[in-house]
């Protein structure tokens, strides 16, 4: 085999390797893109869950702070009453 033919084959091998490498790299990028897409979607879902959980906690807090409950605890459990006018001291 002549030297010229050998070098042509090597050139072809290199070109084909480059193409193959590019193909593999492109495929890897696409797979990574889809995978990251899944991860972003999952993170988005998790964020939505956390927001929903936070909202539910806010409602729970609002229920706990409702005047019905506070008055009930103050009057029944702590034996508290509304102060009378005589018990009110106006600070100068």
């Amino acid at each position: 085999m002549s030297t010229a033919r050998k070098s042509t084959i090597w050139v072809w091998i290199l070109v084909m390797a480059a193409f193959l490498g590019e193909l593999l790299f492109y495929t890897w990028c696409r797979v990574q893109s889809v995978q990251i897409g899944y991860e972003i979607a999952e993170a988005g879902d998790y964020r939505k869950k956390l927001i929903s959980y936070r909202n539910n906690l806010a409602i729970e807090l609002a229920s706990l702070k409702s005047p019905q409950r506070i008055m009930e605890i103050a009057r029944r459990r702590l034996d508290m009453v509304m102060p009378t006018a005589e018990q009110t001291i106006v600070m100068p």
Binding site: G37, Y38, K48, A58, A62, S66, P67, P83, T84, A85
Partner: protein, 583 residues
């Protein structure tokens, strides 16, 4: 190999090569056709398999009280939907779905076996139901996130707040009135899904968080204070229960601005499960209903008399010893009285007395002053379905009508009108527009509009209002009809009312009354105007007995809560010398 064989071989090679070339050419041509000529169609076909259009409605805004406490909020809830065309075996799917969602299997089968592309199976399911349906893993069944309205304080201010329907639109109360502000905008967006139905985030599609923030509805901040609301509802509920009444209404208002601090209607209802309550309990009767006010109207008759210049508080009138005949009708007082001054007429709530007063002043003047206090017109409060009440023109008033209107019969007013008109007496004669929404807030939490107190008109001169205020203070003193409204440490001004109700045949009913009390405190520098109306009390029926104690409880607890210092030193115990004071 001979020459002919070689020739034959070459021919075969050429034929095969030509065939392969044609084959490659066909493939190439087809590729060009598909890639260039049909590119858009193919791309849309591919997209339709991975891209789905999703319609989302933004989160509904919250309703907050004046201190920012949540009174109505939206939370995420999942609804189950189906694409009937994608369900392969509806006969098998229906019973298992119905079992998981506690639905009727037959009607569910009819629903999911139709030719429609989309049907709701069940809206806003519980987490347990959701898990059960997910476990079934039926193809063609989808889960859609929606928002569910929640009222964390349950019955508190329920009639004012109203409620929303399953589609998130307001149906009653402020939810209905401010629906355009509260509702989140409807947006369509593209979502990428793989063959397994998993979401894939892609550049260029709507970011979920961004979309939600943009599409969320605005919030409203009320003038209502949830503690004062609770105080008011509790006191009114007690009064209705104690006197075995049909219903009750109470309003607490800031007389300077017209801001409504509380508005209560009993029986209460829970807007979280409004369907379990009768429709009659949903209405905000403080605004939508009118009633004959009875003797509370004497406040405005006195204002008419004083502003006309015909009378002073000490002008005396003969009260006919309890019975006064006008044509074929006779007006009675509960307790016979002789000569009384205008001040005493109001204090003892003499019907004959105010009739005599208005005969001196004239029907035109009374009508004019009543109208200046806003009766017969809507107040303009920002609540739906406000009634204007009913004030007939004076040309249609007979002599007995004029007398009856002067003590609050033959005229219809709404509770909010009566509270606003009394506030005008408390604040120096200025009739303020009542309002319940203090601010509109956008989805980012910024105040975009704040309500400003609005003067409707000067109802009477400040001096007249001041004189009426002084007269109303005497109602609470010994012998007056409103002694049960007296408070230790605070001066109070007010008026009782007891109105007979009308039967369907147009005559006054025996034993059916509306008991009321309207007043303000501290009398010299009023912080609150409070109106209490108890409808059809059975155990007693006088305003001074039924409504005044509830008024006292509301005013006492509210003034303490608002840190309003007492304006009076310790006073002697006041008692009524009369057992049945009609007023």
């Amino acid at each position: 190999m001979n020459a002919s064989s070689k020739k034959y071989l070459r021919l075969r090679i050429v034929i095969v090569s030509a065939f392969l070339f044609l084959f490659l050419l066909t493939i190439g041509a087809r590729s060009v056709y598909l890639q260039i000529m049909r590119r858009e169609w193919l791309a849309s076909q591919a997209s339709s398999q991975v891209v789905r259009e999703q319609v989302r409605v933004g989160k509904r805004g919250a309703i907050l009280d004046r201190k920012g406490h949540e009174m109505a909020v939206s939370v995420e809830a999942t609804s189950v939907a189906a694409y009937p065309l994608q369900i392969s075996d509806a006969t098998a799917a229906a019973p298992s779905l119905a079992d998981a969602l506690t639905l009727d299997a037959e009607s569910l089968y009819r629903k999911i076996s139709t030719a429609r592309t989309f049907v709701w199976v069940k809206r806003q399911v519980t987490p347990r139901e959701l898990d059960a349906v997910k476990r079934l893993n039926i193809k063609g069944v989808d889960f859609i996130t929606e928002y569910k309205r929640v009222y964390p304080n349950k019955t508190l201010a329920a009639q004012l707040l109203g409620f929303t329907g399953i589609d998130g639109h307001g149906l009653e109360g402020l939810e209905f009135h401010y629906d355009r502000v509260l509702i989140g905008s409807r947006r369509e967006r593209l979502v990428h899904k793989d063959a397994l139905g998993r979401s894939i985030a892609r550049a260029g599609t709507a970011d979920a968080a961004g979309m939600r923030a943009e599409a969320a509805g605005g919030s409203i901040m009320l003038t209502i204070d949830h503690t004062i609301q609770y105080i008011t509802e509790t006191a009114l509920e007690q009064a209705v229960a104690e006197f075995n009444a049909a219903s009750g209404v109470a309003i607490v208002m800031d007389p300077e601005t017209g801001a409504v601090l509380a508005t209560a209607c009993v029986p209460l209802f829970n807007p979280n499960v409004f369907g379990r309550y009768p429709e009659a309990t949903w209405r905000n009767r403080a605004v939508t209903d009118s009633f004959e006010p009875g003797s509370t109207m004497k406040i405005f008759t006195a204002a008419a008399a004083l502003s006309s210049g015909c009378c002073s508080p000490s002008t005396i009138f003969f009260c006919e010893n309890g019975s006064y005949r006008i044509g074929g009708n006779t007006i009675h007082d509960t307790h016979p009285r002789g000569w009384l001054s205008l001040q005493q007429i109001i204090k003892y709530s003499s019907n004959i007395g105010v009739t005599k007063v208005i005969e001196t002043v004239g029907a035109e003047t009374l009508h004019s002053v009543i109208r200046r206090f806003g009766f017969g017109d809507q107040t303009g409060i920002d609540c739906p379905a406000e009634t204007a009440g009913m004030v007939a023109p004076p040309s249609r008033w007979t002599r007995i009508d004029t007398g009856a209107i002067s003590f609050g019969q033959g005229i219809a007013v709404s509770p909010v009108q009566l509270a606003a008109a009394t506030a005008a007496i408390a604040n120096g004669g200025r009739l303020m527009r009542p309002y319940v929404v203090d601010a509109l807030i956008d989805s980012r939490g910024q105040v975009v509009e704040r309500a400003r107190p609005r003067l409707i008109q000067q109802a009477v001169p400040p001096e007249t209002a001041e004189t009426v205020k002084r007269i109303l203070k005497t109602v609470i003193t010994e012998g007056g009809t409103g002694v049960s409204a007296a408070l230790e440490g605070y001066s109070v001004a007010g008026k009782t009312g007891t109105a007979q109700k009308i039967d369907p045949d147009g005559t006054y009913a025996d034993g059916r009354f509306v008991a009321s009390f309207v007043g303000f405190a501290p009398a010299d520098d009023p912080a609150v105007v409070v109106l209490v109306i108890v409808d059809e009390p059975r155990a007693a029926h006088y305003g001074g007995t039924v409504a005044a104690p509830a008024f006292r409880r509301i005013v006492h607890d509210t003034l303490i809560y608002l840190d309003i210092p007492p304006d009076q030193r310790k006073t002697d115990l006041r008692v009524s010398l009369e057992k049945g004071v009609r007023g």
